[in-house]
């Protein structure tokens, strides 16, 4: 095994971890306001396919990213209408949203299967340009990768150091109390879903426009569900989510390394490692007494009329 293959694996882990982290950040905002979004898979698919389609038509990846983001927010608004305005069950609404995303994305993407696009341009780090091309090309990342850690810090700051974040968390803990203290739980939850949708859209955009640079039906392959798990893993804290995403993509990298080193283990079994690792970590943390889940997560706010 050469240094080059190790670096290659690291580089691909960073690529696959980025979309996961954006998506997890989006779900953290949703859940902090008290809403479980199980439809992430569908939201991501619609974002990824519409962003890809726009990139293919206009040949402008940034426009594609923008459309992805907006598509994510719009998809979350559907969920918002069901669970906030119509007070529907959150899990069932989320799964319905997932099926909607399966269908709609297949529809949007049907003419673009196998299409070629110019993905998000890679920007090389100044210090790395003296390295041999073989190495430096591995660490030419796109803008979204550079922005993902700052985004996590921004979300953390928004949630824990602004009035908006305070109100959002208050609604997630107890909507009635938040209402009594003069906040509007319905509006705050819509805002949370909107912002969360923007971030999920960003994650999906990175997946289809920067990482894989193609569109296939069901290309997210369970990432939405992994993000839901990572939210719990990170105890609803955006900074811990960085660690969670790193750990998860590290497990993916480890699995790729094992494969490239020629150890004879079925790739399908190796694929299960990240999921099993997540469950084990959840078990380890489940033993700790302090629970940090928003207290009214998943409950319907009945309003005051």
């Amino acid at each position: 095994m050469t240094l080059l293959s190790v670096l290659g694996v690291l580089s691909s882990a960073i690529f696959s971890g980025t979309s996961l982290l954006y998506t997890t950040l989006g779900e953290i905002i949703d859940q902090r306001s008290g809403i479980v979004n199980l439809g992430l898979e569908g939201v991501m698919l619609v974002s990824a396919s519409s962003g890809f389609a726009v990139t293919a038509i206009t040949d402008n990846p940034y426009l594609g990213v923008l459309v992805s983001i907006l598509a994510g927010a719009l998809m979350n608004m559907i969920l918002g209408f069901l669970v906030i305005s119509r007070r529907a069950n959150q899990l069932a609404s989320g799964l319905a949203l997932m099926f909607f995303g399966f269908g709609l994305s297949a529809w949007i993407g049907r003419s673009y299967v196998g299409a070629k696009i110019n993905g998000l341009p890679r920007i090389s780090l100044p210090g790395l340009s003296n390295l041999p091309v073989l190495y430096s090309s591995l660490f030419n990342f796109d803008l979204l990768i550079y922005l993902v850690i700052p985004a996590a810090i921004l979300v953390w700051w928004l949630l824990f150091h602004t009035r908006w974040g305070l109100g959002l968390r208050a609604v997630g803990e107890n909507a009635d109390t938040a209402y009594a203290s003069g906040r509007n739980p319905l509006r705050i939850r819509y805002q949370a879903l909107f912002v969360g949708g923007l971030l999920v859209g960003l994650g999906a955009a990175h997946l289809s426009i920067a990482y894989t640079m193609n569109w296939t039906e069901y290309m997210t392959a369970g990432r939405g569900f992994i993000a839901v798990a990572l939210v719990i893993f990170s105890k609803w804290n955006p900074l811990r989510a960085i660690v969670g995403a790193l750990l998860f993509s590290g497990a993916v990298a480890f699995q790729l390394l094992l494969q490239s080193s020629g150890i004879q283990i079925s790739p399908f079994l190796l694929d299960t490692i990240p999921y099993i690792l997540t469950i084990l970590v959840l078990i380890a943390w489940g033993g700790t007494p302090k629970h940090s889940a928003p207290a009214s997560l998943g409950r319907v706010y009945q309003g005051t009329e």
Partner: protein, 334 residues
């Protein structure tokens, strides 16, 4: 009766939405809908295909409805279904020379064990209070298809295709009825629904389960073994899901295909939830959803739309039912 009218109207609204989308993408909605209905309810063959699509959904919905009586949220039917299919396929391939009266019961038992084992993990972790079952079942859903792929690609694949096993021997196939594709799984599903209704209504188990679902703490103070119930019922739910997987490979497909499910496990959750966990509701809801599913099959062939598009119509129906439009609801109920 009022109930039926209301749900009928909701479905009409959903079809209007979907028609709009069909129109936008250049299809003729009226012709498409005519296709859907003539292909499903318009002929005895079409009707039989609806029943074929419905059979596994009865089981996957029941696999959610039973644990939900305890307040358990089993979103893991998809994974349990795959494990059931995997275990029973092992039986079918290892004992393919056995006569059907030995092989089929063996496959059924193996399928139920596979699903139950997969549900035991979240059930046990929940009973110990370590991890919420919603999240573990979701994670295990992603793992199960990989295990199926491991066995199929690695050991079981047929000489021709790498992504599926050889066709099962005739003795490993569930018997079919009336020259259609309807197989024994329909009878199993209906019988289990009746059994579920009877158990919940007339037995001590049903009473104790409702007690736990209502107030777990009070139930424990009254001497009901809550932990045992949580684990056992979760496993039984998983066993039913595994049975659904077994009927899919043994009845519907006759081979084990990688990624065969197309979301019928998740569909089971939605059906159970829409039906409020009631056996009759599960039957009716599964029937309506199967009409959409098998109609969509035809839409794909005649209208050149991707198969997944039928999920949009399905989702519209679900959205409308979830949103309960206010003009369709009695003021008293709301």
């Amino acid at each position: 009766m009022h109930f039926l009218v209301r749900y009928g109207l909701m479905i009409v609204i959903a079809f209007l939405f979907f028609g709009l989308i069909l129109l936008i993408s250049g299809e003729d909605p009226i012709q498409s809908y005519r296709d859907i209905f003539t292909s499903t309810l318009g002929s005895s063959y079409g009707f039989s295909e609806v029943v074929v699509a419905m059979s596994p959904m009865l089981l996957t919905a029941l696999a959610v409805a039973l644990p939900s009586r305890l307040g358990l949220i089993n979103v893991g039917v998809e994974g349990q279904l795959y494990m059931g299919a995997c275990f029973s396929t092992w039986g079918a391939l290892a004992f393919s020379n056995s006569p059907s009266w030995i092989l089929l019961p063996l496959m059924i038992v193996l399928g139920m064990i596979g699903g139950a084992l997969w549900a035991f993990i979240p059930g046990y972790l929940r009973a110990l209070g370590l991890v919420n079952e919603t999240i573990t079942t979701l994670l295990l859903n992603s793992v199960a298809p990989m295990i199926v792929s491991f066995f199929v690609f690695g050991f079981w694949h047929s000489p021709m295709d790498t992504n599926k096993t050889p066709n099962f021997s005739p003795s490993a196939r569930l018997p079919k009825f009336f020259d259609t594709r309807i197989d024994l799984s329909l009878v199993i599903g209906l019988a289990l629904l009746v059994l579920f209704w009877f158990l919940m209504r007339y037995t001590r188990w049903g009473l104790e389960m409702r007690a736990i679902g209502g107030n777990p703490l009070a139930a424990r103070r009254n001497g009901i073994p809550v932990k045992t119930y949580l684990i056992a019922v979760m496993c039984i739910g998983g066993a039913i899901a595994g049975l659904a997987g077994m009927t899919q490979v043994s009845g519907y497909y006759g081979v084990l295909l990688v990624n065969f499910s197309r979301g019928i496990g998740y569909m089971g959750f939605l059906i159970s939830w829409l039906a409020g966990g009631s056996p009759l509701g599960i039957l009716l809801t599964s029937f309506v959803i199967s009409i959409i599913f098998s109609g969509g099959n035809l839409l794909q062939l005649t209208r050149d739309l991707p198969y997944a598009v039928i999920n949009v119509l399905l989702a519209f129906t679900l959205f409308v039912v979830l949103a309960r439009p206010s003009f369709l609801i009695n003021r008293k109920e709301a």
